[in-house]
Amino acid sequence: MAALIEVKHLVKKYGDVVAVDDVSFSIDQGSCFGLLGPNGAGKTTTIEVIEDVIPPTSGEIFYKGKPRGASFRDEVGIQFQNTALLNFLTVRETLATFQSLYPKTARIDELVELCRLSEFIDRYNDKISGGQRQRFLLALALINQPEVLFLDEPSTGLDPQARRNLWYLIEKIKTQGKTLILTTHYMEEAQHLCDEIAIMDYGKIIARGTPEDLIKRYSQNVTVILPKKCFKPFADDVSLSYREVKDTIEIMTDNVNACLDHLLNFKIDLSEISVRSPNLEAVFLNLTGRKLRE
């Protein structure tokens, strides 16, 4: 598959602060690429340099094998993390205004149906709920039938149901063959939507691959979780390595049966046990020693 976007040795500094530190990657046409990392990792800066919102300090961005030209703006759709829109316009009028800015456009009624905007289409754009707003901003990003769609933390601040709805919507857009680039700090979201992931921390990419790859590579272990009060009295006798997380202890193991047998031997109360399969959260924890949303 041909790379649609290539980022080469991207550096972005703000004074002495290095927000993005020599980052390189490429994004295949038709794929969904996720930039993952905690707040302040440099995800938004990276994506905004690619979008041509802010200039890089150094490094190069190629789109379809060439530096981004005038047509770049016509062919990309962007949803920022925080976007204010023009006041006193309805959702429909805002869509129509943005439609007039592009040479090639989607039909508004199709977007209304796709993003389920009909119930609030004639309301002023600052009088809609958080979930409605995200769907509306997504429709706005699709108004020019973009080949590439940038979504910067699209589900931040949404309740779980609204988040699920948005995922469903993004999956539908994926099936139209568009290339998606999204940033998120929700591991579940990345695992659910992305074909390829780059994990960022302190301005650098610390791991890259498909979600399955990353889990296989960095977190083969299953996590067994027990309340501290049940485990602590036996801690010195049980020869298992563990770590304490708030009121619980977490034991990493590659053999769950053996681990549970071992705990039962010491007659530890397992009624409140939970077992977590390997996931991206654990990958991040293993890579950085930090939780994602600390």
Binding site: E51, D52, V53, I54, A70, R73, D74, V76, I78, F80, N82, T83, A84, L85, L86, N87, F88, L89, E93, A96, T97, F98, S100, L101, Y102, P103, N144
Partner: protein, 349 residues
């Protein structure tokens, strides 16, 4: 320049303004209220320029014809008499400039008090002294009427109020609004579309100019119905000068709009520009007799030239050629402001 993109933004901006009922209404109401206020103050009999304390006096409102003061003084226009029961009470008011002059009611020789620190007090004192001179010795001067129609103060003030309103509306409506859009990220969203800065700024400016001219016509018509202004020159010339004026003021607004994300800072800059412009461009009073440097400084403000041209057309019947210098200055200012504004403009924070 893509006309379709420009038109979309122009339409959006106009909708925003016309739908913001409070801002829209205020835009018309504010100049009308000021003009109406001044009409009442200067048009009626209630206007008083000087306040004269009289004592001893205890029966409420002073009836000037009932108190013993010189007749010549009593009949001077624009004096208001206020009664006090004792001298102390009157002196207290005089000290804090609540009144300009204090006199004891009675027969000559009269006794009066005036504050050395009060220019108005000095003027009243001179009036009082002259009222004591016997009429037959005062025939040294002969009164002549000024030629042509006399210009009422409200005629002189009215174009000033309209132009001042235009200035505030242009500077705030473009400068402040665009800074707010930069701060909240709306400009950033527009930046990633094919819209360019020239199209965006032209739409902002033209939308505001349309509104300024619309306001001008509505307020002028409304005030004219009440005050019947006399326009010696042509209405078309007047309209053209106001149009050029709104161009230059809007272009100045674009410079303020070009950078910055702090509404507080922009407010400060707007005040820094608009207040001296309001006071020095002869909106409220003439700078005749002001120090030379003040008169020169006033020349940097577009409002000065707008008002100079408008008043000459309105009061002297001047044509466009007669106000050619002002037209050239306003045109040059407009181009310079546009150039600076466009070159400084940034979409980002």
């Amino acid at each position: 320049m893509n006309f379709r993109r420009f038109w979309a933004i122009l339409k959006a901006r106009n909708r925003e303004f016309f739908r913001d009922r409070s801002a829209f209404g205020w835009n018309f109401l504010f100049p009308f209220l000021i003009v109406a206020g001044f009409g009442i103050i200067f048009g009626g009999k209630t206007y008083t320029q000087y306040k004269i304390g009289v004592f001893p006096y205890t029966q409420g409102a002073v009836k000037a014809d009932k108190i013993k003061i010189p007749d010549q003084f009593r009949n001077i226009r624009y004096l208001k008499f206020i009664g006090f029961s004792t001298a102390e009470e009157g002196l207290e008011k005089l000290k804090y400039h609540k009144i300009d002059f204090l006199i004891e009611i009675g027969d000559p020789p009269y006794e009066y008090w005036v504050s050395d620190a009060s220019p108005k007090g000095y003027v009243v004192e001179q009036m009082f002294k002259s009222s004591l001179i016997p009429p037959q010795t005062k025939s040294q001067a002969k009164r002549e009427q000024i030629q042509g129609n006399s210009i009422r103060y409200i005629d002189w003030l009215f174009p000033g109020i309209l132009a001042m309103n235009m200035m505030f509306s242009a500077l705030w409506g473009v400068g402040y609004v665009v800074v707010r859009y930069r701060k909240n990220g709306a400009l950033k969203r527009l930046k990633v579309t094919p819209l360019n800065a020239f199209e965006y700024l032209t739409a902002q400016a033209l939308s505001r100019i349309f509104l300024l001219m619309f306001t001008l016509v509505v307020v002028w018509t409304g005030c004219d119905l009440i005050f019947s202004f006399t326009v010696e020159g042509s209405y078309l010339d007047l309209f053209l000068v106001f149009f050029l004026g709104s161009l230059s003021l809007t272009a100045l607004g674009l410079i303020l709009a070009s950078r910055g994300t702090s509404e507080e800072f922009t407010t400060g800059i707007l005040n820094f520009i608009s207040w001296p412009m309001m006071f020095l461009s002869e909106v409220w009073f003439s700078l005749e007799g002001a120090p030379r440097w003040v008169q020169n400084a006033a020349q940097i403000f577009p409002l000065t030239h707008i008002l100079s041209a408008v008043r000459r057309i309105m009061h002297d019947g001047a044509g466009l050629l007669d106000v050619g210098l002002e037209i050239v200055i306003l045109s040059v200012m407009t181009l310079a402001f546009l150039g600076v504004g466009a070159s400084l403009f940034s979409w980002n924070k």
